[in-house]
Amino acid sequence: MTNAFSGPGPDAVFAAFLAGGRFMLQQCDDCKKYVFYPRVLCPHCGSPKLSWQPASGQGTVYSTTVVRRKPEQGGDYNVALVDLHEGPRMMSRVDGISPHEVAIGMAVRAKIIDEPKKGKLLVFTPAQGGAA
C-alpha cells in the first residue's frame, strides 16, 4: 500500500497509470474489496490501507443508453454502466458496435484508447464469446 495522506493522491495516481496505458484498481488491504473511483479511504470499511492492483478488464453491462445527437455534431453515442469483474461499477462507453446494439448483460472488455481532446480514455468493447 501507499501512504494515504502524502504524495500524489489516488486521483492523480490513477490518472498517471491511465496515461501510461494501465487500468489499475484499488483493493482494500483490510476488507479485500475493490474500490472505484479511487479514494483515500475504503468506502466499504473505512480503512486507509488501499493498494493498487491491475484490473482484469472484464466487465458486464449493467445499464446502457444511447445519447441522441445530430449527425453533423458526431451522431449518436453510447453511455453505459459497467460492472467490473472485481465488483465496482463505473460509467463508460462500449465501442466497436453500434450504440444501439449495446445490451444489458453483455460481456465487455476494457480498452484504453486515445480520445481526441481528452487523451487516454477507458472504454469497453464486446468480449469474445458474447454474454457474460
Binding site: Y62, S63, V66, V79, L81, M90, M91, H100, K118, L121
Partner: protein, 384 residues
C-alpha cells in the same frame, strides 16, 4: 426526545406561488419574492415577522444572504442545505427543529427561478463528476435514462407505462390554470416524441419553466391564530445513498425505500392512509420508482400500476395533482411545489383539481440523479 415527538408540532400557515406559468423579463429573486409575498399575505404576516430562513438556489452562491438582504429581514437562523430539488422538503425538519427549540418563531421556506424565460434550458451549479464526465453524459437525463433502461430490463416495464405517467400528469395540469403545459396529450404522442436518451423522449422529461414558491411555518400551538386552516407536518425523513448515477447501488431502488418508511413511522401512518400523493417527477421513470419505493405497489410493479389512468384524474390514486414537473412547472428545482400543492389540496383550495375528502398528503422530493430522497406526510387538523 424522540423523533415522533415532533409529529404535528409544526404547522404550515401560509403558502404562495410566483412566476407561474411564466415570467419573462423577471429575475429569479423577483419571482421568489412574489411567492414570499403571497405566502406571507396568506398567513397575515409581513417580511419583518420572519426570523428563520430556509432557502436554496440554482443561481446564488449564498442564497440565504441574498434573500434576507432583498427582503430586508434579519434571520436568527438560516439553512441552505443543498441536496438538489428535494432541498425544500428537506428544509421541513431543520425548520421544525428550529421552531421547537425556540430558535425562531416564524420560518420561511422559499425558492424562485427564471430558468424558463431567462435561460431556456436547465441551469445547474452542479459540478462535473470526474469519473463520469469523460463519457459525456447529458446531465441529468442520461442518468435517469440508465435507471429507466434497467427497470425495463429487470421488470418488463414498457415505454407505454412511462407514457402513462406523462399523460396522467398532463390531464391533471389541464385542471390547473397555473400549469405551463395544458394541451391534450396521448400515449401515442409521447411514444412518437423525439428520443433524447433511450428510452426517454422529450415528453418523458420535465419542463424547464419559471416559477417560485414559499411556505410559512410556525409552532402548532399558535397555528389556529392565522387566517387559513393549518396544515400539520406529521412526519418527514431524508435519505441519500449516492451522488452520481455510477454510485447508485441498484438503479431500480432509490433511497425513498428508506426515507418513506421512516417518514411513515414518524407519522404513524401507512400508504393506505394517504389521500393525495405528490411525487417529484423530473422524468416519467421517477413516478414509477417512487410509487414502488414508498409502498404504493410492490417493487417492479410500478409500470403495471400506472396503466389505464390509475393515477390520472378519476383514477384510484391521485398522484401529482398540479400536473407535476412534467406538465405544471419545473424551474430547475421543483420540491417546494410538491408541498404547496399538498397544502392547497388539504385546505380544499385546489379548484377543479381538488381531490374530495383529502386529509393526508404525501410529498416526496428527489434531488440530483435519484440521489437525495425526502418524504413528508402532511395532514389537516383531523389527523392530529
Amino acid at each position: 426526545m424522540k423523533i415522533t415527538d415532533l409529529r404535528g408540532k409544526t404547522a404550515i400557515v401560509g403558502v404562495g406561488l410566483g412566476g407561474l406559468p411564466s415570467a419573462p423579463e423577471r429575475s429569479s429573486m423577483e419571482i421568489q419574492t412574489e411567492a414570499v409575498h403571497r405566502a406571507l399575505a396568506d398567513a397575515g404576516l409581513k417580511p419583518g415577522d420572519v426570523d428563520g430562513l430556509f432557502t436554496g438556489s440554482s443561481h446564488a452562491f449564498m442564497p440565504a444572504l441574498s434573500t434576507a438582504e432583498y427582503l430586508g429581514i434579519r434571520p436568527k437562523i438560516s439553512d441552505t442545505t443543498m441536496i438538489g430539488g428535494s432541498s425544500f422538503i428537506g428544509h421541513l425538519l431543520p425548520a421544525t427543529m428550529a421552531l421547537q427549540y425556540g430558535l425562531c418563531d416564524v420560518a420561511l421556506i422559499c425558492y424562485g427561478s427564471n430558468q424558463g424565460s431567462g435561460f431556456g434550458k436547465l441551469k445547474s451549479m452542479s459540478e462535473p463528476q470526474t469519473y463520469e464526465a469523460p463519457y459525456d453524459p447529458r446531465h441529468p437525463i442520461t442518468s435517469y435514462a440508465l435507471a429507466a433502461a434497467r427497470h425495463m430490463h429487470q421488470f418488463g416495464t414498457r415505454r407505454e407505462d412511462l407514457a402513462e405517467v406523462a399523460v396522467a400528469a398532463r390531464r391533471w395540469a389541464q385542471l390547473n390554470p397555473l400549469a405551463f403545459a395544458r394541451d391534450d396529450l396521448t400515449i401515442e404522442q409521447v411514444m412518437a416524441a423525439r428520443m433524447v436518451n433511450d428510452p426517454l423522449s422529450t415528453l418523458d422529461c420535465c419542463l424547464v419553466t419559471d416559477g417560485g414558491g414559499a411556505l410559512v411555518l410556525v409552532r402548532s400551538e399558535r397555528a389556529k391564530d392565522f387566517p387559513k386552516p393549518p396544515v400539520y407536518m406529521l412526519g418527514t425523513a431524508m435519505a441519500h445513498w449516492h451522488r452520481q448515477i455510477s454510485g447508485m447501488p441498484d438503479l431500480t431502488v432509490t433511497a425513498a425505500a428508506e426515507s418513506g418508511p421512516r417518514a411513515f413511522a414518524m407519522a404513524g401512518l401507512t400508504p393506505a392512509d394517504v389521500d393525495v400523493v405528490e411525487l417529484y417527477d423530473a422524468f416519467t421513470i421517477n413516478t414509477i420508482l417512487f410509487l414502488e419505493d414508498l409502498g404504493f405497489c410492490a417493487k417492479g410493479e410500478g409500470g403495471a400500476f400506472v396503466r389505464n389512468g390509475r393515477i390520472a384524474p378519476g383514477g384510484s390514486l391521485a398522484v401529482n395533482t398540479n400536473g407535476g414537473g412534467l406538465s405544471c412547472c419545473h424551474p430547475g428545482m421543483y420540491g417546494i411545489f410538491l408541498l404547496i400543492e399538498a397544502v392547497q389540496q388539504l385546505r380544499g383550495e385546489a379548484g377543479a383539481r381538488q381531490v374530495d375528502n383529502t386529509h393526508i398528503a404525501l410529498c416526496h422530493g428527489n434531488g440530483g440523479v435519484l440521489s437525495s430522497q425526502v418524504t413528508a406526510l402532511l395532514g389537516d387538523a383531523s389527523t392530529l
